[in-house]
Symmetry: C2
Subunit: 386 residues, 2 copies
């Protein structure tokens, strides 16, 4: 039985420093926490959310000076469940379990790690599935438009609620990296270090195009109904295709070659809808996504990501403060969504506070989810820097 | 008024050698021709088509020895209308008008050029919109599964019908290039030269994946109805999204940057379905495609393209004959669908009969539709070779 070192911040076992039994160097069994913060949040594009619900998880122990907290914001389809399992029987651990745990890249023997379902999400934090206090019914398609800056402003509320004035670091990949950059840009006084993986200073045009088609697929599904669908009656077919489009962009051509080549589905006939292993894989990803994601969340979050663009502030020399957080920007050589050239824009904007590290890989964008010894060593050293 | 030099082969004005008035060096006004060949065609994957209808166009003059004919098979969404206009008022000329005409890359002052709507297409040749003689109704979703080899076998029937025993060349890009390769592989005695642009010896895994998602989008549309929809009542929304997916793969990341950057649609509000210029462009491409293409054709033709794989025959040394046609394989440096590495496999398989030419471009796969002086010079020299 694994010791449960996961808590919900100050209220729940934050002082639990029982040595962890660490088979597999996992954080072990964890639980999610919920909190509602009643203060309203004004949104960047207009409108106000009267209160904020958060679902989050923590791993490791917050030290007495509350100075060892690391926030790990999630990517497009991720959530607060960063590491560990809820039950020993769980088929899968949290989405970054290989990266976060005792002795891992983000070492929970040293750091207190926080995972939060983002604003606009569908896994427990305020989003389209939440009740609109004005109507008493879920927002659905009436959930307001948000930005990544709104997502980060909401996160800061929770971090402060946990009694943390300054984060040791924010570490995130893809959309998680965009959030990390907004911590540095808009909340420099509240964070010491930023690690971004697989993202740049802006959403590039190709990534815009992919999200545009994903949204078009959802909106074209007759069951979308302007976003006012009931649970289980949503645009599942359109949402599955949207996810398939996403997955194509997460792998490099070399990764498609290596994983699938031109393998066929055994026994498939020429008239069958699914004939290729890659076709089967993409269908599976689409179907799995539908079971855990909400179409309105996809629309709101992809629009938020598409709006992400700090390049103008960077060009004006007004993005990062000279005494702001140190920034490590990690690129993956074959990332087609956020290629090294986009990542280097972060380092250029960060000047003396910036560092760049490139991982040679053939895995494409998804490489930020794959353990790499050189990456781990580099990030560990950065997180240990004074 | 432009002189009409287009005919339908032997029957229709093939001996018309009136000098062309060539403002814009266009082939001028053209017309399409229809013919039905009654002999049945046995299909590679099983089944027989009792007869073959063809819609085709020709440009230039067939010489007395009938030795100057060049076939230009079309790509996925193209058709028989390669060059010229039907009426001076037409907004657009044929899809390769910049490449085919007097003095152009394929010089209609020297060559007799044939464009054919492919088997399985939806622009006049035998395909899902054709009547199934067994039922007297359109095949629709019951149209048989086909291969690129079937498409080429059918083409050869028409070429022979036109009295041409041996083509001077077959010149095609993308799926048109695959057909050119099958002329070389399966009909070597009937063609002297092959020019392929933007294709390799096989459909690579990434391209398989993109087509898989395009088909999933069509099949997910409730109006697809197993392919048994009536004209104007088909899966238009799913088909539009399928085309949007295709268009993303036709441009390079640099082309997206150059054409669209992060430009927004003027006046678009944050809640509007279309907010980005690239989003607007893709929507436009999707909508335009629906007006000219049939969903069952898309399914059949993408499956035919996905099945295309000559790499096994090449590895066994049995693909091309040592006295077969000369093969020029043209690659485009930023083509993400059929990158130079895939194109070089053609040259490797062709041995001494092969030549490779790479166009430096940032346009991506679509570069095979863009005029290039160096490309034109290279192909012209190859077509003039003895």
């Amino acid at each position: 039985m694994l010791a449960n070192r996961a808590g919900c911040g100050l209220a729940d076992g934050m002082t639990d420093d029982t040595p962890i039994a660490s088979p597999g160097r996992s954080v072990g069994l964890v639980k999610s926490c919920d909190v509602t913060l009643e203060a309203p949040l004004r949104l960047e594009l207009g409108g106000t959310l009267p209160s904020l619900e958060f679902r989050y998880e923590t791993y490791g122990v917050l030290n007495a000076s509350r100075s060892n907290a690391i926030l790990v914001p999630h990517a497009l389809s991720g959530d607060h469940h960063v590491a560990g399992k809820y039950s020993a029987d769980d088929a899968k651990a949290g989405w970054w379990d290989a990266f976060v745990g005792p002795g891992k890249m983000v070492d929970t023997d040293k750091f207190f790690v926080i995972g939060i379902n983002c604003l606009g999400g569908c896994r427990g934090s305020t989003g389209p599935l939440s009740n609109d206090p004005a109507t008493g019914k879920p927002y659905g398609g009436d959930f307001p438009e948000i930005t990544c800056a709104d997502i980060v402003a909401a996160q800061r509320r929770l971090v402060e609620h946990l009694g943390i004035k300054k984060l040791h670091a924010v570490v995130g990949g893809s959309k998680g990296g965009m959030q990390a950059l907004l911590w540095a840009a808009d909340h420099a006084e509240a964070v010491d270090r930023i690690v971004t993986l697989a993202c740049g200073l802006r959403q590039p045009p190709l990534a815009l195009a992919l999200n545009a088609v994903a949204r078009a697929s959802v909106l074209a599904d007759p069951r979308y109904r302007g976003g006012q669908y009931h649970a289980g009656e949503g645009p599942e077919d359109g949402l599955a295709v949207a996810r398939m489009i996403g997955h194509i962009s997460y792998l490099s051509p070399a990764a498609f070659e290596k994983k699938f080549a031109r393998e066929t589905v055994p026994g498939a006939k020429p008239t069958d809808a699914v004939q290729w292993q890659v076709e089967s894989y993409l269908r599976h990803q689409g179907d799995a996504f539908v079971r855990r994601f909400d179409a309105n969340s996809l629309i709101r979050i992809t629009r938020a990501v598409d709006r992400f663009d700090l390049s103008g502030r960077a060009a004006a020399g007004k993005l990062f403060k000279s005494d702001g957080p140190a920034i490590l920007a990690v690129a993956f050589s074959t990332d087609g969504l956020y290629p090294p050239s986009e990542v280097k824009a972060i380092t250029a904007a960060a000047g003396k506070r910036g560092a760049y590290f490139e991982v040679a890989t053939d895995a494409g964008h998804d490489a930020f989810l794959l353990p790499s010894e050189s990456l781990f060593a580099h990030v560990r050293a950065f997180l240990a820097s004074v």
